[in-house]
Symmetry: C2
Subunit: 398 residues, 2 copies
């Protein structure tokens, strides 16, 4: 990526995605290997008046040493200052930026998955609270790295793979437009429109049908959200760049049936879960199977009661830029925006009608997995039992 492109990328993430304000602290979460983007973000943030850029680096190789050698009873320990920093970012009304994209895919694959599942860092439970408090304007954007490029394009030479990944990321970030921010405003308006129409229907449940999938998810009285968030102080921001989804929080007690993931899932520690099939009974994931990585995921679903229940349902149409590429990115930020998805774990209480906010699922985890495809049909079920087509062939039916 040349310097001019890197600057445009950084300015989009800082100025539009996180929408950094004058005198804000800007927290950046990243891994070694992403220095070149981090430094461009820092420059962009300071140029627009940031008070301080606080970069938190998490090294997956240090985590690997922990999983391999640390005493069993210490594996879930998190120093208290990890969570408190996150809570303070909320109190200080900071901006937050995270860079997605694996730097070391498969790094933990040869280690004991039960031990690996006990250490959920760099995720901390306080991160979910700060999102729900809406005290920080934040965004997650992808950062190309050579290891990631090789994983996505294994048949290309390293340089060609990186160039290809960069091209595709710049495309889905709409940085190949003359005015990327205008393009994003237009797409965000369309997504907010779809979310609004979905919310008006007040569906009681969604029924998913497709290859390996027959799943019904109960809904609560809620709104549907898209793309754009506001903080409690009214700072507009784009939590994901790119984003193509509309979503809500379901009823954690009413999921029934079987769902088959349509894309691999890369856990935060680099574990890849392939061919995932989950069976739900009474809202709980009672059966988690996969051809690879299933045990690690199953361990995570036993973290707490809410870890085996759904916290999110999201619908993605085929008009976004990601799904059309046909690329599997092995990165939730991109893959979840290529396809409809659901998430185990913590829900979003703020999307529920006031009287029902206590009913959102609660958990220390939040793990999205992709279930959408052009073969998937989603049908809304009204409180009266009527069936209303919602999504078919990747196109909105409402």
């Amino acid at each position: 990526m040349d310097d001019a492109t890197l600057s445009r990328f950084a300015d989009l993430v800082v100025g539009f995605g996180a929408n950094v304000q004058d005198d804000q602290i800007v927290a950046i979460n990243c891994e070694p290997g992403k220095e070149y983007v981090v430094r461009a973000l820092a420059e962009s943030a300071y140029r627009r008046g940031a008070r301080f850029v606080d970069v938190s680096w998490f090294d997956p190789w240090v985590k690997r040493a922990r999983i391999a050698y640390a005493r069993e009873d210490t594996l879930s320990y998190v120093p208290p200052w990890y969570g408190r920093r996150v809570l303070e970012l909320g109190e200080q009304r900071a901006a937050r930026i995270a860079l997605s994209g694996p730097v070391a895919p498969g790094l933990l694959n040869d280690l004991d998955p039960v031990r690996a599942g006990r250490d959920r860092l760099p995720a901390v439970k306080e991160g979910i609270q700060v999102v729900n408090d809406r005290t920080t304007n934040w965004t997650i954007a992808p950062c190309p790295t050579p290891a990631w490029a090789q994983m996505v394009f294994p048949d290309l030479a390293p340089d060609a793979a990186l160039t290809r990944l960069e091209e595709q990321l710049l495309h889905v970030l709409r940085l190949d437009e003359d005015d990327p921010i205008a393009a994003w405003r237009e797409r965000a308006d369309a997504l907010v429109g779809a979310a609004s129409r979905l919310g008006e229907r007040r569906f009681d449940a969604l029924h998913y049908e497709g290859p390996g999938t027959d799943l019904t998810i109960g809904l609560l009285p809620s709104s549907w959200q898209a793309a754009r968030f506001d903080t409690v102080d009214g700072i507009e921001h784009m939590p994901n760049l790119p984003t193509e989804e509309v979503f809500t929080t379901p009823d954690p007690a009413r999921t029934e049936g079987t769902v088959t993931a349509t894309k691999p899932l890369v856990l935060v520690d680099g574990t890849v879960v392939r061919d995932l099939v989950v069976r739900f009974e009474g809202g709980r994931a009672v059966d988690v199977g996969a051809s690879e990585g299933g045990e690690t995921l199953a361990t995570i679903t036993r973290t707490d009661d809410g870890a085996s229940r759904l916290g999110e349902v999201a619908l993605v149409d085929r008009e976004g830029r990601i799904g059309n590429l046909g690329t599997i990115f092995y990165d939730t930020l991109l893959d979840e925006n290529a396809a409809s998805h659901i998430a185990l774990g913590q829900g979003f209480p703020f999307v529920l009608d006031e009287a029902h906010r206590d009913r959102a699922n609660r958990s220390e985890i939040h793990i999205d997995f992709m279930i959408g495809s052009n073969e998937l049909t989603v049908t809304g079920i009204t409180p009266a039992g009527d069936r209303v087509p919602v999504l078919a062939g990747g196109r909105w039916q409402i």
Copy 2:
């Protein structure tokens, strides 16, 4: 460095330098570019039962963006969680490891030195408190990097320079001995012996004479220290690896005369101060001159009242391994152990006799600079005014 050497290095730093105990938190401070050593330290620490390895990375390129672009009034801001983490490491009785060695020499040289002097990160004032509280067992050790090697050996090709730097570091770390820990115990015993003899003399002042130097430093009733520290809980550790010095805290009100540094000084931000000459009156550095980097250092000496007064005097004999190499490492850890030195800023109250602890210099800074050479003569002055030779030609005279 091959894997076996890297492991021996890590085990020396973790097991002997910091002397990490079972179930301790281990904090590692480092910069991008030192990953390979950090990961070896983490493995060594977890193998010996560490509860958690908390790596804090500080990126000097992000600091460069700040100095270049941040608003003037924000440059000395430090997020509150930076200092609190350090205090909590003390409360938790953690081990602490820092890796010295510049990763980006001269990175800030083209920026405004006054702005650069306002941002003292990664140093935080709470770091000094934790040292004085003696609640953590800690060590600083050098980490070879290509940029550092090129700076030290500019006439060698990059690979050869790195190999040479590694060889010299392994030598001064006594890792070329069959039993490096036994070699370190012997040297530490010798240094502790010299410190003990110096302490018994109860000198009132030291008089330094050499090329460009005629300096008298008043002393307080104190002990001299060397090499080995104990925490309040009795954990023995080696704060510096390598170490060749004996030191005490002087009277901050009684330094008179002029001193010429005998080696360049590399500030924590990478600024190199060359040909430093400092003139003291009534204990204060009233004149700070240098051919390069002087303004940045002068700004730092105005941080607070104690920043222009001495907090440390240290004597180094010529029997250590560093001085004999004739190498300028541009790294305080190594260069200060090659030569006698003094430090501006915070002193060490714990070396003073109980009744005089309040008299140690206080400051947010602590900056060592090297004044020793084989041409330097150090004379002790007794309370009765007698002159006693202490160090001449690099050899102890007492």
